[in-house]
Each structure stands twice: as C-alpha cells, then as structure tokens.
Amino acid sequence: MKGVAPGRRTVIRILTAAAIAAAVLLPQILQRYQQYHLIHVAGLIAIYVLLALGLNVIIGYTGILNLGYAAFYGIGAYTAALLAIHFKISFWLLLPISGLAAAAAGALIGMTTLRLRGDYIAIVTLGFVEIVRLGLNNLDFLTNGPKGLPGIDQTILVPQLTLAGRSLKLDNDISYYYFILLLVLAAIFVLLRLHNSRVGRSWVAIREDESAAEIMGVNTTAMKIQAFATGTFFAGVAGCVYTHWVGFITPELFTFWESVLLVVMIVLGGMGSTAGVLLGALLIVGIPEVLRDVLQQFSGGGASSMKSFYDNLILARMLIFGVIMMVIVIFRPQGIVPPKRPRVSEKKSGSEPAPDGGV
C-alpha cells in the first residue's frame, strides 16, 4: 500500500480489515441462523473470487480477452480428480499439480496466440474451451463422458493437515470455506505484489499499447506467456479445490458460459481492480443465490408466486448480465471500482540522470 495517499490509505486499511473480518465471521453467523445452504454459497463465491482474480491477470492487467478461462478450471478439476481416483495422490500435492497443469495449458495457448490481435485471441480461447468441453464429453474411457466423474471417496480422502498441533481437516462446507478464503487472501497478496512490480508494470504497459511496450524494452512475448500462465494457475488450483469439495464434476461445469460469467464479474467490478473483481464476483454469484434462498424461505419452499418470480428471475439472469456488459462498457468502462495506479513518493530527485541505464 506504500503508494496510496495518506488519507485514503487509512480508509482502505479500515475497509480491508472490515472486509476480512466479515469474511471470517460470516460462516459463524450463518451457522447460528442455520443458513447451511448459504454457507455452501459463500464457499462457491470464494471459488469464483479465486477464478476471477486469476482471469483478471489476463484480462484486467494484460488486456487479453480470454473467453476460455473455464477450460483451465476444468483442466485443473479433471487433473485433480483423475489423479486422486486412480493414483490416490494427496490433496496437498494435487493442489500445485493441478495449478501447474492448468498453467502449462495456459502457457501453450498463450504461445499459440502470441502473434494474434486481441479479437482473434478471444476466438481462439473460445474455440479452446469448446474443444476441451467436447473432449471431456467424448473421451469416455478417461472422463466418463457427460455423466461426469463421481467419487473422490470422501471418507478415505479427506484432506487433512496438522500444523503445530492443530489439525485442519477439510470435511464440510465451513472448513472448505475457510480454506478457500485462505487461498483467496494468498492470491490477493501474491497478485498485488506482482502488480506493483516490474512484472505488473510490463503487463499493464502491454494492455495500454503492446507495440510501444515492446519498443520500450518490455519482452512482450515472455510477459504475455507469463500472464497467461499466472492467470490460469489460479484456475487450476480452484478446480482442484472444487473437485475435492463437491466430489462430482461434469463437462458442463466448464463451458463457454462459465467463462462469460467470469468476464462479466471482471467487467462489472472494474478490469484490473482487485476490489472491483471481489465485488463483481460477490454480486454476480451472490445475488442470485441469496435471492433464491430468501424467496424460498418467504414462500415456505412451496409453489407460490414468489417462487415463480424467482424462477423467472434466474432464467433472466444471463439476459440481465448481457445488458450489464453492454451498459457498463458504454457508460462506465472502468467498472464499479476503477483500478488505482500505485503512486510514487513525491520527493524530487537530487541527482543528475545518467544516460546509461546504470545496471
């Protein structure tokens, strides 16, 4: 946070602390009021936050419209599931393995699209997510096709970690929620550090003007591949966690529409803005789910006008998202929470510049 003006810095710190506190206390509160479904929803939102943070590296920082992000989520999920089922590999090993598998696929797609202009990259990634979906559907011997992969045996393979005498056991929604929250915080920490360094500056410079960045000495080839790999790594990790948590995956979880949902979160929240991405995921995943829960309780779970109102609403969800994408891009392209650029200290330099870069 070194760069932000002093007054703002306090505000941001307070807000950050409040957000973390709220996130930590949330399951306890929900448990007290017996909103078990909402605990599950909170975990899902956290997964989407993790995904959106990763995609934000590619779209928000580097300015590459990747429409196939769900494919990398799927690669992570299937890698984890297959290795767990067939080789009984531990969750803690699978976490980085899935991340790296997705990152490798990401780097590969990054390399193939290097020479292409933005809209073509969008099409290639769109094609990729369809290929992955069709592949998962048709490679029955490996993926069990459209029926999906059931069964990471929950009773045998409960991820468990003992640290300093306390054991972290992932066996219910609450424990997974906390674990994913931890991953989200780690991701934010890592991404902010990257963003506020030569790596992040190079990414953003590519977004702003790729050929000018290259001529200013940025190795755009390497940096674009790195952005792809970094962004997709988080998708792989999220896929691994999701598989172990829910224990059942099908190809239909990793479609183009899933990717579009993530793009909407980023566009709505603010491309390149961490706070914006958090908010975007919260709004896009949270509102429909919470609404469903609330409406169901009001209507006593039965068939009532409230329920049909909700059914129509959930049907209209994507329609509304479509409108949001258009409206935001036209009227507020920076999103709800525009990204803030890191500031440098205000001091004046005393020394004379020397033309040779010095290193």
Binding site: V199, R201, A212, Q226, R341, S345, E346, G357
Partner: protein, 258 residues
C-alpha cells in the same frame, strides 16, 4: 570524425512494390545530434522503424556499437541502447507519469515473478532504483510535480516531454526522436531544443526527424535529407541550406510559398 555509434549500409525496404527506403547509408557518431529531414512520405519514420526492429530490412545492414541490429526483436534492440519516441504519441495512457518512465527502465531490471512475489533484497533495491530513475528523468524534463498523474491527463506538450523521459529511462546511447516539436509553439520548441542539447551533454547521441527548420538548423550538427526513400544529401546545416537538390525537393516548396 568521431567513433561511429550507428551505421547503416544500403538499407532497403519495399512495401508492396513501393520503395519506401532504398539504399540508404548513413552514420551517427557518439554525442552527435543528427537531423533526418525530407518531405512527407520520404521514408523517415520507416528508417526509425527499421532501426528499432519494427520492420526488417529487405537488404542492407545496420550496425550499432559494432553489432548487427537486423533480425533482433525491438525489446532486444532497446536493451542494446537505442530508444525512440513516436510521431503520434504512444504513451501508456492509463498508467501514471512515473510508471511510464519506470516501464522504460524495466529493460535494465532483472528478476522475474518469483523475486517480485518474495520481495527479496535485491528486488527491493531495483524497484527503488526504478523509482529513483523516474524521479531523475521527470525532473530532467520538468514533470516532477506530475509524477502521480495519469499520463492521459497531461497537456499535449507535457506528453511529448514524458515520451522523451520514458525513452531516456531505457538507458540509451542513441535517442531517436520522431518530430519532437510537432504542434508546439516557438517557446515550447525552444525548450525542447534545450532538452535535446541536455541529452547530448549527458553523453547520448540524438537522431531526430523534424519538420521545423528553425529547430533543425538550430541544433543539428549534421543533416541527412531523404526524398522518395533515397538519401539525396547530407552535410552541415549551412551546406544543406545551399544544396540545389534539397531546395528543389524540399525547401523549394517552402521558399516558393514565402
């Protein structure tokens, strides 16, 4: 004559049959200020694009500090020590002024993602150095007070200065300026000329494309004239002013107008 910093030999490139640059040979010495002039479409910016690796020459050679430049990527050439500005401003509009300059310094920094995440000691030192560089070059071009503004919020003349600061932060031995005073009033042009002399005094050579003859005659030690992609003259300002072919191709039109 001084040591040759940059040397081109029969540089040629064609675009779909158009001879954009044809057999152009010239050199730039160390700490020299050389102007590249010629009517619109003479191939000046194309020469810059060839020198910075944006285009590859059809034939001919470019040597910089004795090393071949062709078939290298632009970022490598920048690292070798050639920096440039653009005729149409190409700043990173949504980054701060200081960040723009720091991107220029990026090519002098080492360390990838891992050190950036771990914030190792050497990494912190380099980042601090980048910030220091930004301050130095911003104060050099007179933009210190605006370090934390977004680049797009700068006035036109300030954006031109920022482009120079960004290019200088790459640590060049040769700076290519593409119409640095375009669209400026005489007072602003004068201050850019001061800036260019300052850059020379710091030890870098400057090759500039310029239309404003006061600027060209005022600061360049040598002038190279292109017309239809070919070099038609080269010499000291006084010589160029008297050169028949140049007057015919270029100054002639201006003289006729006045």
């Amino acid at each position: 004559m001084e040591n040759k910093l940059l040397e081109t030999e029969n540089l040629t490139i064609h675009f779909g049959g158009v001879r954009a640059v044809e057999n152009v040979s010239f050199s730039v010495g160390e700490k020299e200020i050389v102007a590249l002039i010629g009517p619109n479409g003479a191939g000046k910016t194309t020469v810059f694009n060839l020198l910075t690796g944006v285009y590859q020459p059809l034939s001919g050679a470019i040597r910089f500090k004795g090393e071949r430049v062709e078939n290298r990527k632009p970022n490598t050439i920048t690292r070798m020590g050639i920096a440039r500005t653009f005729q149409n401003l190409r700043l990173f509009q949504n980054m701060t002024v200081a960040e723009n300059v720091m991107v220029g310094y990026t090519c002098r920094m080492r360390g990838g993602m891992l050190v950036a995440i771990l914030r190792t000691g050497p990494f912190k030192k380099l980042e601090a150095a980048a910030e220091e560089k930004a301050h130095e070059w911003l104060s050099f071009v007179g933009l210190s007070a605006r370090a934390n503004e977004l680049a797009r919020n700068l006035a036109y003349g300030e954006q031109r200065r920022l482009e120079i600061a960004r290019a200088m932060a790459t640590g060049p031995n040769l700076l290519l300026l593409d119409e640095p005073t375009a669209g400026m009033n005489p007072a602003e042009s004068e201050s850019i000329m001061e800036l260019i002399r300052g850059i020379r005094d710091l030890g870098a050579a400057v090759l500039l494309i310029e239309h404003d003859m006061r600027v060209v005659m005022g600061i360049s030690g040598r002038i190279i004239v292109l017309d239809y992609g070919e070099k038609i003259a080269e010499g000291r300002p006084e010589e160029i002013q008297k050169n028949e072919r140049v007057i015919e191709a270029y100054l002639g039109k201006k003289a006729a107008k006045g």
